[in-house]
């Protein structure tokens, strides 16, 4: 899952390790990884706290110009640690007297959790200048965390000052709060948002992951509109989206986006030759559907597939563990997606067909009417012989 990959990247940055040394952790849920990261951060950034509290008290008693002058002499590391221990208003009064160059250096040492209020209270022009310097340094991870703390006016000012939308996408990838991200995206002028999403389709830019992450975290309306826009590109671009999703295993993120696209766009995606040419892709999509409880979003797509593609899906479904088959059928039950399921069942080997029939018989014990309905549907797909007449 992309969110887990992003969390591991943040943890790697904190621990000053190459991301590859923590790759095994990407299998864990993002929430658990975030907890681990915050605990590790707490250990790393709170050493010598009593000393810095005393230091902060001393600085707090001095007039702001003198305190700012001392901060310059203290250097960015000590300033960051002292600022975290100060009342935020006091710290902001001092910070507003420091140069953006120095503030950008301080930001690299700030404890983002404890500095939210301080960041909020910085004067907007200073904040914008500091953000622009951090963008120059490509400190996107840091900026993502800072962006979480900013109010709408400050965010709007930064967005207006940043002319390259690629920077915004790279920062958005690292924002912690998904609901805040959806809100902030709505602050962008519509044309600019469209331009940003279309950057994903530019082969010159390596922004596909960022755009998929953005789309995955938006609400229904924007996901539908922007997803359709990205998917309205030529087939070559769509193939690239599929290939990037496959190479980085972004299916748990991309399936919910595809599920919100218009039927026409979904149909275009399902006719891409790459799905037939690389059976592993379908296998991974089916895997993701099962592991991330996305069957209810995948089954409507199955219902739209060509007979050829259904054959490939059936090949993969035949290899599913019994419990996965049960989960897929539960999803069909909850979302009334039986036609999709039966069209795959029709292409399964005989032993798996019998298993499907036996699960349906099990439903029949609770709901005989449902069984009758499903047997009738199965009969229309030449599967009637799997069921005994009296159930």
């Amino acid at each position: 899952m992309l969110a887990s990959q992003v969390e591991v990247r943040k943890l790697a940055a904190l621990l000053a390790q190459p991301e590859s040394t923590l790759q095994d952790l990407t299998a864990y849920p993002p929430e658990a990884l975030r907890t681990l990261r915050l605990l590790a951060e707490e250990q790393c950034l709170t050493q010598q706290r009593p000393f810095f509290r005393r230091w902060a008290t001393l600085l707090g008693m001095l007039p702001a110009p003198l305190a700012a002058s001392l901060a310059n002499r203290m250097g960015p590391l000590l300033t960051a640690r002292a600022a975290t221990e100060m009342p935020s208003m006091r710290a902001a009064a001092i910070a507003n007297r420091l140069s953006p160059v120095f503030l950008a250096r301080v930001c690299h040492h700030l404890d983002p959790q404890r500095s939210r209020e301080l960041i909020r209270q910085l004067a907007t022009p200073r904040l914008v200048d500091t953000a622009l310097l951090l963008i120059e340094q490509q400190a996107y991870l840091l900026l993502g965390r800072v962006a979480d703390a900013l109010d709408d006016a400050a965010i709007a000012a930064v967005m207006a000052a940043v002319h390259d939308d690629a920077h915004l996408l790279r920062i958005a990838l690292y924002m912690e709060s998904r609901t805040r991200l959806d809100h902030l995206v709505r602050l962008l002028p519509r044309e600019r948002l469209i331009r940003a999403v279309l950057l994903a389709t530019d082969p010159e830019q390596d922004l596909m992951v960022e755009v998929i992450a953005l789309l995955a975290n938006l609400g229904y309306g924007l996901k539908h509109e922007l997803g359709d826009l990205a998917a309205s590109q030529p087939a070559m671009v769509l193939e690239r989206i599929i290939q990037v999703a496959e190479s980085r295993q972004l299916w748990p993120d991309l399936i919910p986006v595809i599920a919100e696209l218009s039927a026409d766009t979904q149909q275009r995606l399902l006719t891409l030759p790459v799905l037939l040419q690389q059976p592993k892709i379908l296998a991974h999509i089916i895997d993701a559907a099962d592991q991330h409880e996305l069957w209810s979003q995948v089954l409507p797509l199955v219902a739209m597939m060509s007979p050829q593609l259904l054959e490939r899906v059936a090949e993969q479904a035949a290899a599913l563990p019994d419990q996965a088959l049960r989960r897929a059928m539960e999803a069909a039950l909850m979302t009334e997606q039986w036609p999709a399921l039966v069209s795959v069942a029709q292409r399964l080997p005989a032993d798996r067909q019998r298993q499907v029939a036996s699960i349906i018989d099990g439903y029949g014990q609770q709901d005989p009417q449902l069984r009758r309905r499903l047997v009738s549907l199965a009969s229309q797909h030449q599967l009637g012989q799997l069921f005994s007449a009296n159930g």
């Binding site: 621990l15 095994d24 990407t26 864990y28 250990q43 790393c44 250097g75 640690r81």
Partner: protein
């Protein structure tokens, strides 16, 4: 970013929980990581300890560099002149 790895099975959890102990939290807080081997949990703790040491060294260095100048700045003007 590389594709995610398969998560180790929780079937035989290692009950040591060095990670939770080392990070000073209740075992339940990091229970998701029970399936990580003890050795891997220790490795992660070692990485945290290394960052702590680097941070501490950085703080000491920064203090050593800043203190003379800070003390000088805090001295009254006349004394500051004399000390130069």
């Amino acid at each position: 970013m590389n594709p995610p790895k398969t998560r180790p099975s929780k079937a035989a959890p290692d009950t040591g929980q060095p990670l939770a102990r080392g990070l000073g939290c209740p075992p339940a807080t990091l229970s998701e990581f029970d399936s990580l081997s003890r050795q891997r949990q220790q490795q992660l703790l070692t990485m945290v300890a290394q960052v702590r040491q680097q941070q501490l060294a950085g703080l000491r260095q920064a203090l050593a560099k800043a203190l003379p100048s800070l003390l000088l700045r805090l001295l009254p003007g006349e004394l500051r002149q004399e000390s130069r």
